[in-house]
């Protein structure tokens, strides 16, 4: 007899059925043979997918079904389950947890100790719990052979749907086992991700901090968070990938799973399930579609964060003009978002210390900017810091600011708006605030993202004022916080982008750019004519000429076998070449030399003068030559993570690009080969969600 049941999302009570009952319900008579069983399983799984409920099979049966190829065929043959991976995956998502629970509750086995612990919890809380249990007691399910079998199997032999890949079993099953958030997501890409319950925030922070912190320095100490967004998504223990995939019924390899517009809104670049499979399955190589798609997402996020930032700055300016001192006014400005008003209210209380008060600390820090601007001095450091804090709509800010999942672009905007508004509106009590600001800064990490997002569009006066402050020497405030700031300011050579007043403006080129320019990688070729039109504003569909941007990213494909990334910082007069395999000096020189030549030629052609290039005139060829001399090239000096396998260079490239676009200096890149499988998952999820 096969037992299965349905687990309501909110009610932990289970209902049990015999297979025969369900069969009767479906009018298919009694279940005796294998085929019937298979049919029942089929209907069960179907039910799982169509309803928002979780269903489960008894554990041993599930395991058998998943393990035995014979039964695979059985299920896959008669009924339309030819892609058995999908069935398997659906189990991973829908059934594993329920099955564990069923086996422990129904059969009374002590086996599924770990899953039972998690099962009854509402998924929101489970999120925090999950990581801990997943890491702490990975060996717990060992007592249950069934559980082990199932988990191992789901982890090991799935080809297209590797949701649990490379995490430890406990974590994987747990990840996929919180389907309430899961099933609440109707469609994948355009859906703004649901918020986590805020209660999970502190726990999760403590979870992630040690992991991310080890590699990229202490986050609390104010260093830069170099964890790629994809990795953060994966580390958040996300069930989303599973969810997104589960919601799409067995896509064909050619079926489109995600789209994002390129240029005009109707020109949608799509990513097929097959491409996603390449991304997920570490064995097959990444193709340009995935890489370029990811680049597009980076670009889109960048544009969005800038846009939001500018509107926020404008709002701040308006607020400052209207009602300078009153906090109440600030709160009023912040009004629309409840979160914001909460933050303001809390920051009224001096020195909130607990982790939960992080938001208030941030708000306090954010206040500083204008305190100083009114008083002339106070905490410039904090000013820059706070604003910077919000410059990045990166995962970071959000992850820490509120208890939601990382990488959700949506909630960031109100928050940031608030902060800027508050900053602009509050002028009184600068001293008091300064103290709090320090605290806030200490607690807050300086997410480099879209770095130094000092208040916004420089055209806005208030923003400009803040900028001046954050640029002025961080003098008096002698705290660790200001030390951080000083350190950062003391190395303008290495990270001048931290000094930018706006979020970094990034343009990511197509990976075909370089192959066009060099005619498929010939070292002697410089086919400028091929790409001359590529940077015209009417062709990039941007308002500005992309040559004016802070950072240009070039994913480069070498001989159809390797991916690298080149970054050009026109204003910093810096070229960087990222090769996750190290590469050779000759190649690096060739790439950077070609790009520099292109940049100078193109700047001349488009009549663009970069801040630093203009001294050279950029008009005559000779001048360009001279200008070329002043460019720095970084290649082997860059201490970047190196890959240790033969198939993940594309993932490295995407991660490099993402971090650079967030303003992370190369030495702070915080990931390594061991994170790659998780990053693949995270990237897939980001892609499916349609946003970074």
């Amino acid at each position: 007899m096969v037992r299965y049941g349905i687990l309501e999302d909110d009610a932990p009570a289970l209902r049990e059925f015999d297979m025969t009952q369900s069969a009767a319900a479906r009018g298919s008579g009694s279940f005796s043979g294998r085929k019937r069983k298979a049919e029942a399983v089929h209907s069960l799984v179907e039910m799982c997918l169509t309803s928002s409920r979780r269903a489960f099979l008894s554990f041993s049966w599930t395991a058998k079904l998943l393990r035995s190829p014979k039964r695979t065929r059985m299920v896959g043959g008669g009924v339309p389950w030819s892609g058995f991976n999908w069935l398997q995956h659906k189990y991973l998502h829908h059934a594993v947890l329920g099955a564990a629970k069923a086996s422990s509750e129904l059969a009374g086995s002590a086996a599924a100790a770990k899953p039972t612990r998690e099962a009854p919890k509402p998924p929101g809380r489970g999120d925090a719990e999950r990581n801990r249990t997943g890491r702490a007691v990975p060996a717990a399910p060992k007592q249950s052979p069934d559980a082990i079998d199932l988990v191992d199997l789901t982890l090991s032999d799935d080809a297209t749907v590797t949701s649990g890949r490379a995490t430890n079993p406990g974590r994987a099953s747990a990840c996929d086992a919180s389907p309430a958030t899961a099933s609440s997501l109707p469609t994948a890409s355009s859906q703004p991700p649901a918020l986590r319950t805020p209660t999970s925030a502190p726990t999760r922070l403590t979870q992630t901090t040690p992991v991310g912190g080890e590699r990229c320095g202490s986050r609390r100490g104010g260093s830069i968070n170099g964890t790629p967004a994809a990795l953060q998504v994966a580390r958040a223990g996300t069930p989303r990938l599973a969810v997104h995939q589960a919601l799409r019924p067995r896509p064909k390899p050619t079926a489109c799973v995600a789209t994002t517009p390129v240029g005009p809104a109707t020109n949608l670049q799509s990513l097929t399930a097959g491409d996603l499979g390449r991304l997920l399955g570490g064995t097959s190589w990444l193709n340009d579609e995935v890489v370029n798609f990811y680049m597009l997402l980076i670009q889109k996020r960048d544009a969005e964060s800038r846009r939001r930032f500018e509107t926020a700055a404008a709002a701040a300016a308006a607020a400052a003009a209207a009602a300078p001192p009153a906090t109440a006014a600030a709160a009023a400005v912040a009004g629309p978002s409840s979160h914001s008003s909460a933050a303001v209210g809390r920051s009224g209380v001096p020195l909130a210390k607990s982790g939960a008060a992080r938001a208030s600390a941030v708000a306090a820090a954010a206040r500083l900017p204008l305190g100083p601007s009114a008083d002339g001095e106070a905490g410039p450091a904090a000013a820059g810091q706070a604003v910077r804090e919000y410059g990045g709509c990166g995962p970071q800010a959000e992850a820490e600011g509120c208890g939601q999942r990382s990488l959700q672009p949506v909630p960031a905007s109100p928050l940031r708006q608030v902060v800027t508004a508050v900053a602009a509106a509050v002028a009184a009590g600068a001293k008091h605030l300064a103290q709090r600001g320090k605290h806030g800064q200490a607690a807050a990490q300086p997410p480099p993202p879209a770095a130094a997002a000092a208040a916004g569009a420089s055209s806005v006066p208030a923003a400009a004022a803040v900028l001046e402050i954050s640029n002025s020497v961080p003098g008096s405030v002698g705290t660790t916080a200001s030390l951080n700031q000083q350190q950062r300011q003391s190395q303008p050579q290495t990270h001048p982008h931290h000094q930018h007043q706006q979020p970094l403006t990034v343009f990511a080129f197509n990976s075909f750019f370089f192959s066009k320019l060099t005619d498929k990688g010939s070292r002697k070729c410089f086919a400028y004519g091929e790409v001359r039109r590529w940077t015209m504003p009417c062709r990039t569909y941007t308002a500005d000429c992309v040559l004016m941007r802070d950072l240009l990213l070039f994913p480069i494909n070498h001989g159809n076998s390797h991916w690298c990334l080149a970054a050009v910082w026109p204003r910093r007069r810096l070229l960087q070449y990222f090769d996750s395999l190290g590469g050779s000096r000759a190649t690096a020189d060739w790439v950077m030399g070609t790009l520099l030549r292109w940049l100078l030629t193109d700047a001349e052609d488009k009549g663009v003068t970069h801040g630093s290039v203009d001294t050279a005139g950029a008009a005559a060829g000779a001048a360009a030559e001279a200008a070329a001399a002043g460019w720095r090239r970084e290649w082997s000096e860059l201490r970047i993570p190196q890959q240790l396998d033969g198939g993940s260079c594309g993932v490295f490239v995407c991660a490099f690009a993402e971090l650079l676009a967030r303003g992370v200096p190369p030495e702070a890149f915080g990931f390594s080969q061991t994170d790659i499988p998780a990053m693949r998952r995270g990237m897939a999820e980001q892609i499916l969600r349609g946003a970074l």
């Binding site: 190589w285 197509n510 076998s561």
Partner: protein, 97 residues
């Protein structure tokens, strides 16, 4: 952009349904194939015709319009194409080492 639809012949043709432009699809070796396309026609038609002619799998090539990947569903009008514009046909890139 919509009104510089080539010479007389095209204009006459295009009177019925929008203007017609000449598009050139160029592959990586520089070979060109010319198409006459209505501004409102989805480029999918062009791509399929090109792939048929060249005998390549549509999924293995990408079409770029001055650096912008063109999706099959887009039309020349939306992309702001003009008469004589060139589409680059490039072959899928893979890499994994």
């Amino acid at each position: 952009m919509a009104d510089d639809g080539g010479d007389q012949k095209f204009k006459q043709e295009g009177n019925a349904q929008g203007n017609v432009i000449n598009l050139v699809v160029k592959d990586q070796t520089g070979n060109e194939v010319h198409f006459k396309v209505k501004m409102k026609t989805k480029l999918e038609k062009v791509f399929n015709a090109y792939c048929n002619k060249k005998g390549v799998e549509p999924s293995s090539v990408r079409f770029l319009f001055d650096g912008t990947r063109v999706s099959p569903g887009a039309t020349p009008d939306e992309l702001g194409m003009e008469d004589g514009d060139v589409l680059d046909c490039v072959i899928e890139q893979v890499g994994g080492r």
